[in-house]
Structure formats: structure tokens, C-alpha cells
Amino acid sequence: MTVSPTLDERFRAAAAAANLLDVAFDVITDTPVGPLLVGVTDHGLCRISYDADAEHHLESLAKQFGPRVLRSPKPIEHVRRELDEYFEGRRRHFELATDIRGLSAYNQKVLAELAHVEYGHTTTYGALAALAGNPRAARAVGTIMNRNPIPIVLPCHRVVGVSGSLTGYAGGLDRKEQLLRLEGALL
């Protein structure tokens, strides 16, 4: 005998309801940019990844937020809803709290500036670096974008090269282009 899916889901829901998880995660399978792994803590959204294989995230989530990492759909329900609305073109601002506690102060500062880049607009690595205090740190900002733990919601797809070229995206340039087209920033 193995654990029935019903009992398994019941435990996962109970674990979240009892507030016993450091990180609850689940995979949203049906988005236009492919499956997304989503993780939340009680502080907010802590991860979105285009790599939806949970195995690849468990260790790093545990290290950053604590060992009680468990797949549990309920706590990410509001993230799923806002992402759905975004992909349907009905949402331009996310109202999700984010949890980037584990990152360096500079990293957090850059991501905080990034969060202000508006829907349908783009900025450059250098401009973002300037906003974060050092206009010459474009390359460092590029690295931070590349390691952005919460893409889409922290909109690193809106950061492009000076010439307007898309430059790079951890999720692949196709997805960056797809998101910018969705927002009307690209025709």
C-alpha cells in the first residue's frame, strides 16, 4: 500500500494550514511561458523558476529559508491567480509581497529599483545601475538580473541593452521577447 493522493494532499494542506512550513511550493503547469515553479514563505513570494523540476530547488530553498520545504498548493493560490491575470493581459501590477531576505544588501537594492520599472516599459542595465547608486555597475546589475529569484514579478525582462537589443534572459531570450510582446513593449 502506498499513500493515496487524497491523503497526501490532505497532509500537505494541513501542514500549510498549521503554519509549519518554511517554504511552500508548487508547479503551475499551464502558463504561456511553460511550467513555473513557485515558492512562498510567510514573508511573501520567494521564488519563481522556469526550471519546474522541484528537485533542483529543494536544497537551495532549504538553505536559504529553512528545512521545512514542502509542496503545498494552497499557499501559492494567490500567486497563481495574479500570474493568470497577468498572462491574460488583465493585470499590470502585482500585489504580491516578495521575500528576498537571503540576498546581499546591494542585490536587494537593485531588485527594489527593478520593481519600479513599469509594465510595458523597458530600462537599461546602466540606468538601473545608476538608480541603485553606481552607474558603472551595469555588468554587476546584469549578473543580478540573471540570478533574479523571482522573474516576471520582479520584471528583469524589462531590462535591455543600450541599443535596445534584448541582450539576455535566464529563462531564454524567447521568453523575454514573449513577455515584452505581451506587455506591448515590443511589436
Binding site: M1, T2, F11, L20, L58, L70, R71
Partner: protein, 148 residues
């Protein structure tokens, strides 16, 4: 380092469920299953080592089986705490502790067999640090009396 809970849970959920189902029947096993892993979650951040995780979760499950029996049939003889599944991990201490009441035995095995702290033992047994300490010392006193 202890593994992420997801890994631990996936590794042990089926055998824990089988164990509980054999002891309690399907319906009661489902509640006991959830309670076992909720207790494990509560105690999990306080674990210092990934050694003996299997024995640890079997101990929690065994404790819940004992509680379940006690609740339903207060006067019935308690089932054996040590199970076929849990056996290998208990082996060294089993001959010494076989005659102890289940709670004292569990406390001693976890303290001296697995080196858990009393707060961890309390959490594993669904009681308190103080109760775990008392159960272990009562068990030790009893062993001293019996074995010397």
C-alpha cells in the same frame, strides 16, 4: 545538515503509512499518518543530524499508535512499541529496554541511542521536554533496579 522536508517525507511516507495501516486499519491510519508527519514537521527544525531519521519518524508513528490504543481501550495491553520496521535502529538498546513501558523506552532509545536532546524527544513523542526528561530518568532508574 538535515534534508529538505519534502525529500524526507517522500522517502518515508509509504512505509509509515503501511506501518500505521497494519496497526490501526485504514481509517484510523489516515488520521495517524497526518498526525505523524505534522509532529515530525514541528520537531524538524530542531534536529541536528540526518542520522536515524527513519527510526525517528517510526518512533513518532509508534507513539501515535500507542496513544490511539490507549485512547480507545484504556485497559487493554499496549502494543509493542518496537516494530519490525523500526527494529534495526533499535537493536542495540532493545535487549535492555524491552521490558520498559513504551514511553520510557522511547525516551531512552532516542536519548541514548540517537543522542537527541530532550526538547527533540518531547516533540517526537508529542509531549514536552520535561516529560521526556522524566520518562528517560524513570526508565533509567527502573533499568538500574532490574539489571543490577
Amino acid at each position: 545538515m538535515i534534508p529538505p522536508f519534502e525529500t524526507f517525507y517522500e522517502e518515508h511516507r509509504d512505509e509509515i503509512y503501511r506501518f500505521l495501516e497494519r496497526r490501526l486499519g485504514r481509517q484510523r491510519a489516515e488520521d495517524a499518518f497526518q498526525e505523524t508527519f505534522l509532529r515530525a514537521l514541528r520537531a524538524y527544525p530542531r534536529l541536528h543530524t540526518s542520522d536515524h531519521l527513519r527510526a525517528w519518524v517510526f518512533t513518532i508513528a509508534s507513539r501515535i499508535v500507542v496513544d490511539d490504543f490507549r485512547r480507545r481501550r484504556p485497559n487493554a495491553e499496549l502494543p509493542e512499541l518496537v516494530t519490525e520496521d523500526g527494529r534495526p535502529a533499535y537493536e542495540e538498546l532493545a535487549p535492555l529496554t524491552d521490558d520498559l513501558p513504551p514511553k520510557q523506552r522511547a525516551a531512552i532509545v532516542l536519548r541514548y541511542g540517537y543522542d537527541l536532546e530532550y526538547d527533540e524527544i518531547g516533540a517526537a513523542l508529542g509531549s514536552t521536554e520535561q516529560a521526556a526528561r522524566q520518562a528517560a530518568s524513570a526508565g533509567v532508574r527502573r533499568l538500574r533496579k532490574e539489571k543490577t
